[in-house]
């Protein structure tokens, strides 16, 4: 298997069962570190693994939970929370982490192109 699937913009990175519920893994996608999370309600999210607050590649190792209805990951470094859906930092309106399209086919997790957020 190669780095790309037949849909050339998507990269297969792992099996879904390799990601724990409310856990994260780091994948190498097009040379960049991408954090992929799985939430309790069955959704899968992908965002850059790079935490702009601590300037370290660590977000996949954060704790996943909810703030109100917002699914988020807390940076393991200094606990800033990031909305899993948009990458928006919930503690600092000026900070956002790039997110990526992600889908699950036949139990395989695929990471797609960066998402645009308004």
């Amino acid at each position: 298997m190669t780095t790309s699937t037949d849909r050339s913009t998507y990269t297969a990175v792992c099996r879904l069962d390799q990601i724990e519920v409310e856990g994260g893994v780091t994948a190498l996608v097009d040379g960049a570190a991408v954090a992929i999370f799985r939430t309790h309600d069955g959704n899968v999210y992908a965002m850059s693994n790079y935490d702009p607050c601590s300037r370290a590649s660590v977000l996949a190792r954060g704790i996943v939970g909810t703030r109100g209805d917002v699914p988020f990951v807390a940076s393991p470094m200094h606990k800033q929370a990031f909305d899993l859906r948009t990458g928006q930092c919930l503690d600092d309106a000026d900070v956002r982490v790039p997110t990526f399209d992600v889908r699950v086919d036949d139990g395989i997790v695929l990471v797609g192109p960066p998402q645009e957020h308004p």
Partner: protein, 839 residues
């Protein structure tokens, strides 16, 4: 301001009452028109004599009311270490012992009282003391160092305090009381007997109905015992007289002022003596002919005198002589008409000889009002009962509920606003509520502390009535404190976060509640922290069993119990560090930290360490870290006990113990304290007889010195107390609350810990010990268990789809011959050409 003549007040005596006079004078503006000169004979400024016994534990500075040594107000001059020779009401002058003459407009005598020493033969032998000042305590401590038996003459309130001091100094202690019971002024026969049983159970000998006829002189001219009338002689190398106090009225007597029949400067309701410019307050004064030997009436007199000097109407018309104190861990309280002297008064008694509790209520003939009472062994109801007497509110229908165990006590009795809550500082419930509403504070609870619980409850009730619940929930997902969570997990036997959040919470948790629940599950179940769904609850340090550093790498700390390590093991650590290119540094806890390990290197590093006999040091966990030790008696020429062996034993006993915050211990082999054990959550210091156990110390941003919990323990008792202390902390502390603030947060503070751990007052002892035994029995090394489990190892990869490719964000530079992290300025890309593994 027009120039005006400033008047001068001279205060003779700088004890608690003299200090309060100056405080009130400054606060109420008397110093706008008056200069104040305070003359104190002791070498130090006023200090808290109510808690004098704690001097041995906390030192003089902690007791001081003026640690700076002077008042902020420059119009107050404090002259210490100086005696007043006399004063002349005609010329209004005071003569100091250095020859200085000070003019006064108003003279305030606050000379206090002196211990009464009965004129028995031998009363002045070396080895005989009184118990009044810090200097007295220092002298007693010095004498106790070379002695083994001591006796206190007088079984009143102060005498029992003195006896406790002798006991703390390691002496076998006798209490000799003339009356048929202890604390004869405050409690009745049954209460005195209950108190005596408590005190005897602590190893003291109580002799009532005992008259001392002489202090026996030994061959060296020092005291060796007490001869009693009609009883055998008691051995005693240290003798403390505490047989009552006498007002110090000699200056007034020499100046020709009127004195009360039984001593004391006779004063009117405002504190004025027979000379209108001479005042007397506190224990040297006798308003209406009666002297008051407690601090609260003295404070009231000080306030009244200041008021009078300002032209106010204040008057002192008598005082509430209610008393509540804790003697050697035993509550004793007496209030109102404790001896039922009111005609027709009824008594309602609850007594439990097994538990050592005696409570008596004195009730009016018609059964509607509480007149007074006595409480021994459990005085928790005092905060409610005493104000009921003072305010005269109606008794509830079932007054026995007030004293029955687990009675409704504080909760159901609505006090009227005028009810006095703090008798030391005359603060009413209304004052406390008004201060809470204004965001201000009162002095309630700041003197003897007996009303603290009641005050706290009034404030909480006030906030609740304003709809402001004092919210101690840990986060938005659980309306519970950590302690409540700990209890529901234990009661329901929950084994996973899902069970806990579904039963007691909302949402899916967060970075606050998840690690708390992980810690609680670890404390109760002691399974692997990476087992099942518990891994995703852990903070990253626990999740990877290592400490994350600024560039996303980890540091590794193998356990080195007690800081003792063989050369071979030291070499292994060096080799591992060299082979993996790690930065090494010695830690404050006597071990070695290896920095710069990539996550994917951790299993290999640990395989090498485990093979060499190392195990996890839990530096990454809110858990026991280290038990630091000095080299101890094996090598040190000063050591008196083997501190290294004990430190190793304790570290191995408590290793892996998950707790609300990190836990550190220390063991020193002698009083030189080279292990800095008193800077630890638990510190053990060797004595000639055994070990002293200190608790509640830490370094860090808010350093705290550990305080003595119990002294001269044998090894077995020490470990039993430590088991209880640590488990009690783990069960009841808040999240991220270290032991020092935890102890402060308990009602009763360190005394509460002592009740639970030493006295086993809650009967929790065996349960706490069993919980610790379970921990000890089920401990395993979680790093060894991890490297043996392929499923757990799966997590330790840089990339799930490229396990062997290092994260490009991590790079190092060289600093002083070792690696140091290089900050990355933004996301880094390896480019698209790197081959990656299949999913």
């Amino acid at each position: 301001m027009s120039p005006q003549y400033r008047k001068k007040i001279v205060v003779v005596g700088h004890g608690m009452v003299g200090h309060r006079f100056v405080q009130a004078a400054v606060e109420r503006g008397l110093t706008e028109t008056h200069d104040i000169v305070v003359v104190g004979e002791e070498p130090r400024p006023a200090y808290d004599r109510v808690v004098l016994t704690s001097f041995f534990e906390v030192g003089a500075e902690a007791l001081s009311f003026l640690p700076e040594g002077e008042y902020d107000d420059p119009r107050v001059r404090l002259v210490l270490g100086t005696e007043v020779e006399g004063f002349d009401p005609e010329t209004r002058t005071v003569l100091l012992d250095g020859g200085e003459v000070v003019q006064y407009d108003e003279l305030v005598l606050a000379t206090g009282a002196a211990p009464f020493v009965p004129p028995v033969p031998g009363h002045d032998l070396p080895g005989c003391f009184v118990y009044r000042t810090i200097e007295d305590l220092e002298a007693i401590r010095e004498a106790a160092a070379g002695a083994s038996v001591g006796a206190v003459i007088g079984g009143g309130l102060l005498g029992l305090e003195a006896a406790n001091a002798l006991r703390q100094l390691g002496l076998e202690t006798h209490v000799v009381e003339m009356a048929p019971r202890l604390m004869a002024v405050q409690v009745d026969d049954a209460g005195g007997a209950t108190l005596a049983r408590h005190i005897e159970s602590l190893g003291l000998s109580v002799h009532t109905n005992a008259m001392t006829s002489a202090v026996v002189e030994g061959a060296d001219g020092r005291a060796v015992g007490l001869a009693l009338k009609e009883a055998a002689t008691i051995p005693a190398e240290v003798v403390v007289f505490s047989a009552g106090i006498r007002p110090r009225d000699a200056l007034a007597r020499a100046a020709g002022l009127d004195l009360a029949e039984r001593g004391g400067v006779l004063v009117d309701e405002q504190g004025r003596s027979s000379d209108p410019h001479v005042w007397a307050i506190g224990e040297c004064a006798a308003p209406g002919g009666r002297m008051y030997g407690l601090v609260a009436p003295g404070y009231a007199m000080a306030e009244v005198a200041v008021d009078a000097m300002l032209g106010g109407p204040g008057a002192f018309t008598g005082a509430d002589m209610s008393t509540k104190l804790k003697l050697m861990g035993v509550d004793v309280a007496s209030f109102g008409d404790a001896f039922a002297t009111t005609p027709g008064a009824l008594e309602l008694v609850y007594s439990d000889a097994v538990a050592g509790v005696y409570k008596k209520l004195v009730i009016s003939e018609d059964g509607t009002r509480l007149l007074g009472g006595v409480l021994v062994g459990d005085a928790s109801a005092y905060g409610v009962l005493r104000p009921m007497v003072a305010s005269g509110i109606a008794l509830p229908d079932n007054p026995e509920d007030l004293i029955l165990p687990a009675g409704r006590g504080a909760a159901d009795i609505g006090l009227p606003d005028e009810a006095q809550v703090c008798s030391c500082n005359d603060v009413s419930k209304g004052d406390i509520v008004a201060a809470a509403a204004a965001g201000e504070t009162t002095r309630a609870g700041s003197t003897c502390g007996s009303c603290k619980v009641q005050t706290k409850k009034i404030i909480e009730d006030y906030y609740a009535s304003q709809g402001q619940e004092v919210d101690r929930s840990i986060c938005e997902h659980f309306p519970l404190t950590r302690q409540e969570l700990f209890d529901v997990v234990a009661v329901h036997g929950h084994r996973s976060f899902d069970q806990v959040v579904e039963a007691h919470g909302t949402g899916r948790g967060c970075d606050v509640c998840k690690p708390v629940i992980a810690s609680i599950l670890a404390s109760q179940l002691n399974g692997h922290v990476l087992e099942g769904d518990r891994r995703t609850l852990q903070d990253t340090n626990d999740a990877y069993l290592a400490n994350i550093q600024r560039n996303g790498t980890y540091s590794v700390v193998p356990r080195i119990p007690g800081g003792e390590i063989t050369p071979d093991k030291l070499i292994v650590i060096g080799e591992v560090a060299r082979d993996f290119g790690l930065y090494t540094k010695i830690t404050g806890g006597q071990r070695i930290d290896l920095f710069g390990a990539r996550m994917e290197q951790l299993p290999e590093i640990w395989r090498r360490l485990v093979d060499a006999g190392f195990e996890s040091g839990h530096a990454y966990g809110k858990a026991l870290r280290t038990v630091k030790s000095c080299v101890g008696s094996t090598w040190c020429r000063y050591g008196v006990q083997d501190s290294v062996q004990l430190a190793i034993d304790l570290e191995l006993r408590y290793r892996g113990l998950r707790s609300p915050h990190k836990l550190k211990g220390g063991v020193s082999g002698c009083a030189r304290e080279c292990a800095e054990a008193r800077a630890k959550d638990f510190g053990v210091i060797a004595t000639e007889q055994g070990w002293n156990l200190y608790v509640g110390g830490n370094g860090g941003a808010t350093p705290a010195h550990a305080r003595l919990l119990a002294g001269d323990l044998d090894r077995e008792t020490l470990i039993r107390y430590l088991d209880r202390y640590l488990m009690y902390y783990i069960r009841t502390a808040d999240r991220l609350q270290r032991t020092a603030p935890w102890i402060d947060s308990l009602d009763g503070g360190l005394d509460r810990v002592r009740e639970v751990v030493v006295d086993d007052a809650l009967g929790l002892g065996s349960e706490l010990e069993a919980a610790m035994a379970r921990h000890v029995d089920t401990y395993f090394d979680e790093w060894k268990a991890t490297i043996d489990d392929p499923e757990k190892l799966e997590r330790f990869v840089s990339f799930v789809n490229a396990p062997d490719v290092p994260d490009p964000h991590i790079s190092f530079r060289d600093e002083r011959g070792q690696i140091a992290p290089e900050d990355s300025s933004g996301p880094v890309s390896l480019g698209t050409t790197i081959p990656v593994g299949a999913p």
